[in-house]
């Protein structure tokens, strides 16, 4: 069902009783995994380790890298822009995740009651299949203060113009709204898949016992869905912390740093100012935050398994 959840039990499932290595089989096996092993070593393992080393240097691509010890990390603690980015990122996650998850849950429950139509499901995930760049451009146009259709409509009903992406206080909520538009359908389908796996007999039993719709939702659906919900929450939180495309296309971190999330700040430091050392140090902090979230997930996962 889930990347993390299935990986662990299946690892155990393959380990059969010990047997002697067959040289031919081992040789073919190594040949088979060789390309992937090269790809993994060169573009995943070594860069991850190398990143740690780069974060201890002042590398700017022009002059040779000099070790500066923990200076980048010390600088980071003093850097108001870093703290702003962290704050803005957390603000975005808080705007994005609760609303998106609740909406997705409502959509999933609604669909499981009303229709199993594959066409409706297909339409609902369409935004998720689009490039972030396209989604950003499309909403930039829809939300344009002067001629965008949303503002044209808002003026027509007397609300007046809302400068969604141009005013610091509206910018981040607007970005969150755009990303909810892109991801809510996908999230709903993950939850929908989870709902389908709950046997109907559980609901029948509950309704014979006289449970109301609301009681069934709270006492049956939510607990049985917990592992799926935890997976959905954690993957979407991890994804939210790494938001980049929408912001790169619409606000570029502005207005006045209101949407300068961590990923955009790292990008700016690395590829506009070539502060490779400093950018890498910030990326390590982001990594630590996500590790922390993953560990929390594993605890919640274990708590979720006992329900069914």
């Amino acid at each position: 069902m889930t990347v993390q959840a299935t990986a662990i039990p299946k690892l155990a499932a393959v380990s059969e009783p010990k047997r002697r290595w067959r040289p031919r089989e081992t040789a073919f096996a190594l040949l088979f995994i060789l390309p992937s092993l090269i790809g993994f070593t060169v573009f995943y393992a070594i860069p991850a380790v190398r990143g740690v080393f780069i974060s201890f240097t002042n590398w700017d691509l022009l002059t040779p890298a000099k070790s500066v010890g923990l200076a980048n990390y010390a600088k980071l603690l003093q850097d108001p822009n870093f703290w702003n980015s962290l704050k803005v990122t957390v603000y975005y996650v808080l705007l994005n995740i609760p609303l998106q998850t609740v909406l997705a849950m409502v959509i999933a429950v609604m669909m499981s009651r009303l229709t199993k139509s594959i066409i409706i499901r297909a339409m609902i995930i369409l935004p998720w299949l689009m490039p972030g760049v396209v989604v950003g451009l499309l909403w930039l146009w829809l939300l344009d203060p002067t001629i965008g259709i949303v503002n044209v409509a808002l003026r027509a009903i007397g609300v007046g113009t809302i400068p969604f992406l141009n005013l610091p206080k509206y910018a981040m909520p607007s970005i969150a709204m755009i990303n909810i538009w892109q991801y809510v359908g996908y999230t709903a389908l993950l939850i929908f898949a989870g709902l389908q796996s709950i046997p109907g007999s559980v609901y029948e039993a509950a309704s014979i016992d006289g449970a109301s719709e609301m009681q069934m939702f709270r006492r049956v659906t939510v607990p049985l869905l917990r592992p799926v919900l935890v997976f959905v929450l954690v993957t979407s939180i991890i994804g939210s912390f790494q938001i980049f495309d929408t912001i790169a296309i619409t606000t570029k971190g502005g207005p006045v740093n209101a949407t300068k999330v961590l990923n955009w700040y790292i990008y700016e430091q690395a590829f506009n100012r070539f502060n490779m050392g400093y950018a890498t140090a910030i990326s390590m902090v982001l990594f630590l935050i996500l590790i922390f979230i993953s560990l929390m997930q594993m605890r919640l996962m274990r708590a979720g398994e006992s329900d069914m």
Partner: protein, 303 residues
Amino acid sequence: MTAPAQVIRTPHRPIPWGKILAWAALGLLLFVTLFPFYWMLRTAFTFPTAAFKNTSSLLPVQATLINLQRVLGMIDVETAVKLGGTGQSINFLMALRNSIIVSVLIVAGQIAFCAMAAYAFARLHFPFRNQIFAIYIAALMVPAIVMTIPNFILVRTLGGLNTFAGIVAPTILMTPFAVFFLRQFFLGINREVEEAALIDGASIPVVFFRVVLPMTVPALTTLAVITFISSWNNYMWPLIIGNKENVRVLTVALGVFRSQTPQGAPDWTGLMAGTTLAIIPTFILFMVAGRKILDSIQFTGFK
């Protein structure tokens, strides 16, 4: 006979307000989901200067194909300016070609190499098999940006900036997700056929290519579709590696087009024509393989 009976019973049955409300909500959801796409098309077919005058028409204003022709480089720059476009020469045809090259290379490489690796992890015995696989899975947790900066430096050192090789390098050999995805499928296949072939004296590569792969075609197609779409949509990596026009992919070209606005306001009709072009391949794939994509969501959450 039954019709009159129903007429009589109807007053006793309460009107299902809940259900009507739920359908209305679902209808609203579909409208919010699909309307932006409709507006993209409506704008792409609107005459450039008319987009600024008539902002609320639900249909394209002075419907025209010139925006598509402009972004495909079929109209020269001066004519385009006269028609109300930007003075910038935009060639999405080149970007479209580049995106196809990049995505096809990545799909071909990743499917071939990850299928081999996944088979080895699922069936063959070799030292540290489970440990290596566990490390692959652990890498799923590392945020992309952590690898992006060192990978950029590596590609730059090797002279790979502004080459297709540089753009496809990190994902053409493997992604942990692809190996994981296919391994799950191999584990679900019945071993008996393979074992019979082995007993008959077939070698492991013969069993893999002649017996196992044909049985895995559905899974391979699903992964190919998923991989194609995600490399088609990729933005940050091609942006930092391939910003020169000869290798620039569509997402990057759209970003460049958006930030160059010689006449002040963005060239919305041109931009929407560009985005329309950019999503056509995904749309076609979705028409053909939509069910596979939906099933893969049930199978595992991919991103």
